[in-house]
Amino acid sequence: MNEYVVEMKGIVKNFGQVQAVKHGEFNLRKGEIHSLIGENGAGKSTMMKLLYGMYPIDEGEITVKGEAMKTLSPKIAIEHGIGMVHQEFMLVNELTVLENIILGFEPKKGLTIDFDKARKDVEQYINQYNMEVQLDKKVSQISVGEAQRVEIIKTLMRGADIIILDEPTAVLTPQEARRLFEILNNLKQDGKSLVFISHKLNEVMEISDRISVMRQGGYMGTVNKDETSPLDLTKRMIGREVFLNIDKDYSKAGETILKIEDVWIPSQKETSKIRGMSLHVREGEIVGIAGIDGNGQSELVEAITGLRRVEKGRIILNGEDITNKSPRRIRNSGLAHIPEDRNTRGLNRSMSIEENLVAVRLDEAPFTKGILLSREGQDAYSKDMVEQFDIRPTDYHLPTSSLSGGNAQKVVVAREVSMKKKLLVASQPTRGVDIGAIELIRNTLEKAKKEGAGVLLVSAELEEIISLSDRIIVIHEGRITGEMMASEANENNLGLLMMGGSDAGKDGEKAV
């Protein structure tokens, strides 16, 4: 009897010119949690999509439970007990949770779907693994954490005992991540074998039994958790050490550049409505907004950048009232914006790196000559940006759809920061990007601050907020629950304020 439930050997996968996986190796034991780590674009997601049959492999062999798999498709993978929770959820928003769970595997009663039986089956899993979900809500109405539990139940309903989770914590709050880990451990106790794809080393160290590392499409070895350290893993992942800690110098904060006075902002979600918020950002400082996702951060950023209506109150940028002005007007008044979702707002993914880089300043020299675009001006600028921000691949005529998350985000950051505007609003600037890109992006924000820009940083990563910000504002359900200097902040006092605790940060520290 083979000790592995999955074995992948000598895997090669090309997408056109791009070699996504050069030499992939992976194996999975029954009843273990095996993490697959690497920078974005290292090929770890691709490896697992190959196992799930989303694409055919070019070379190599895949064995599942002792059986060599000649062809694979999601359907065949499911039949062999493989389930995958994708990074982008595969849930149909307009259908109910229950409909989503049974999709493709519907129990029938005569001509109709047997919803009663489906409900009973699903409730069994909910109870067994303590996964609370609301079956009759539409997917569009549930939280990200709940949607993820729905995805896990989906794989179980389809009989999966090998479950692949592709960056499951990237979209979760710390509390939700904790809850996910409990569920994963429950699944492991029950004999399920789990693949955990991530690049968050602290999580990997917490949850894994074994860890495999990939770098640039190649396999970099497998280690037992007990025999490694985050530092060791980092070296394997990127081939050198990284420094995420940044020296802060708060002395240069100057004039107030952004002033928000008692603004009220509408939202689809009750907890995301901003109800009377005031704050300011000065030149040469980074103000961090901490809060659990969905407590009004996105709404606040959208209102500042002109993408959402303000119902009451004023927003003043650079001395100008920009309340409810058009995004273009606001940009001209001195705003640069790194939006939270690079795929929908940050980039046009079907256009090239170059076109995305010059998109917001097409009417400026040297990108235009009269009414015509200037090829030379754009090329020179793109070349410079690609070098300066280490965007890979370096051919700036490639469409941004071919870029990994980290490199795509670098394009957005390069474009916005290079305009040297007075205010930089950075929303989740390092979400879903690899550690190399995180380092570069954080240093870029710090540099913008040193050059005198005011930076408003919104991030779900507390560690990022604490290490980058000079001043931290905590929000909960659309209201400010506390404000403190970064030097006074820690995960405990911020965490308490994020949960809506009293607005005295120091009390919070004592209480914990």
């Binding site: 799930y52 499911i78 307009e94 049974i102 999709l103 001509l111 989906k154 009220w264 109800r275 119902e311």
Partner: protein
């Protein structure tokens, strides 16, 4: 205007109910033809052309075979052939569905015009006592009941079938495995794919059924609603069906209600014409009603959404 008020009871009477339904049925079939593909996120703008080819085929086959039933079957097959041509172009070769649809509409107009000339040596229209019409259902017991008799007796077979089809599609979309998969394919094909559903196969099936219904829509128009073929006899009913489908969000029952609105404005218009309202205005009515209904429902939806989202008024 006085003439209208004086004859109010002649315009708004029991027979208006059936007149409304009668005018609406061809549009209902067309709308259902568009609804089923819309559920798979394919906008079947070719409904108009499919319907026109169906109408022509039905008349031709009925004329030569002497069977209205064969006429309907042939029309449905013709509709299916056209929709499968569209499906291959759109699904396999990835072309823009609206472009294919408009192409089909123009082709249908030209080819039926040509065939009327080639087969029947006639221009513009073709009618003959040898065209067998779809029969009407006479329920003898209803003859003696005043209002019900007027409402439900002597319906065309395909008119009854329209009701059955609405109910059947409602059931199919929302209660069956196939319907759930169809909706999943339309709303998020990637999710359907990862659930092991063959997305393209479902899309082909939707297009096929759409073609069958579209052909039936045409057959009803040329053998039930009337008994002849006239060049461009669909007269935008296919597009009205698409509009009604949007109005009803591709839900068969709501879609059919939208069609009734068209039927109502059409039949009321015909009556008003007799009392001095200019015919040009009467012809405009269904379209004015479309624009008005769609606008009002959108405005209502928007303002309700704004109120719900407001930070000032709701919650605490």
């Amino acid at each position: 205007m006085n003439a209208i008020l004086e004859n109010f009871d002649k315009i708004f009477n029991v027979s208006l109910v059936y007149a409304t339904f009668r005018s609406a049925t061809p549009i209902i079939f067309a709308a259902l033809c568009a609804a089923i593909t819309q559920q798979a996120n394919i906008l079947n703008i070719g409904t108009e052309g499919i319907m026109l080819v169906g109408a022509f085929t039905a008349v031709t086959v009925s004329y030569f075979s002497g069977s209205w039933f064969l006429g309907i079957v042939a029309a449905m097959i013709a509709g299916a052939i056209i929709s499968m041509i569209m499906a291959v172009g759109h699904i396999r070769y990835n072309s823009e569905i609206c472009a294919i649809g408009m192409g089909i509409n123009m082709l249908a107009l030209a080819i039926t015009k040509f065939l009327v000339k080639a087969i029947f040596n006639s221009t513009g229209s073709f009618s003959s006592p040898d065209i067998k019409a779809i029969p009407r259902v006479n329920l003898a017991f209803l003859d003696s009941i005043p209002v019900l008799g007027e409402l439900f007796n002597d319906w065309c077979v395909t008119e009854w079938f329209a009701i059955i089809l609405i109910i059947f599609l409602q059931f199919l979309f929302y209660k069956t495995v196939w319907g759930l998969r169809l909706r999943a394919v339309g709303q998020f094909p990637e999710a359907a794919k990862t659930a092991g559903i063959r997305v393209n196969s479902v899309k082909y099936q939707a297009m096929l059924i759409s073609g069958l219904i579209g052909g039936l829509a045409g057959a009803h128009l040329s053998l039930g609603y009337s008994t002849q073929f006239i060049e461009n006899m669909t007269n935008n009913r296919g597009f009205m069906g698409v509009a009604a489908m949007y109005f009803g969000g591709a839900n068969p029952v709501f879609t059919a209600l939208g069609c009734l609105l068209f039927g109502f404005s059409d039949s009321i218009g015909a009556r008003l014409q007799a009392y001095g309202i200019p015919s040009q205005f009467v012809l405009m009515m269904p379209y004015i009603v479309t624009v008005a209904v769609l606008s009002i429902s959108m405005v209502a939806k928007l303002s309700a959404g704004r109120k719900r989202e407001s930070a000032l008024h709701s919650g605490n």
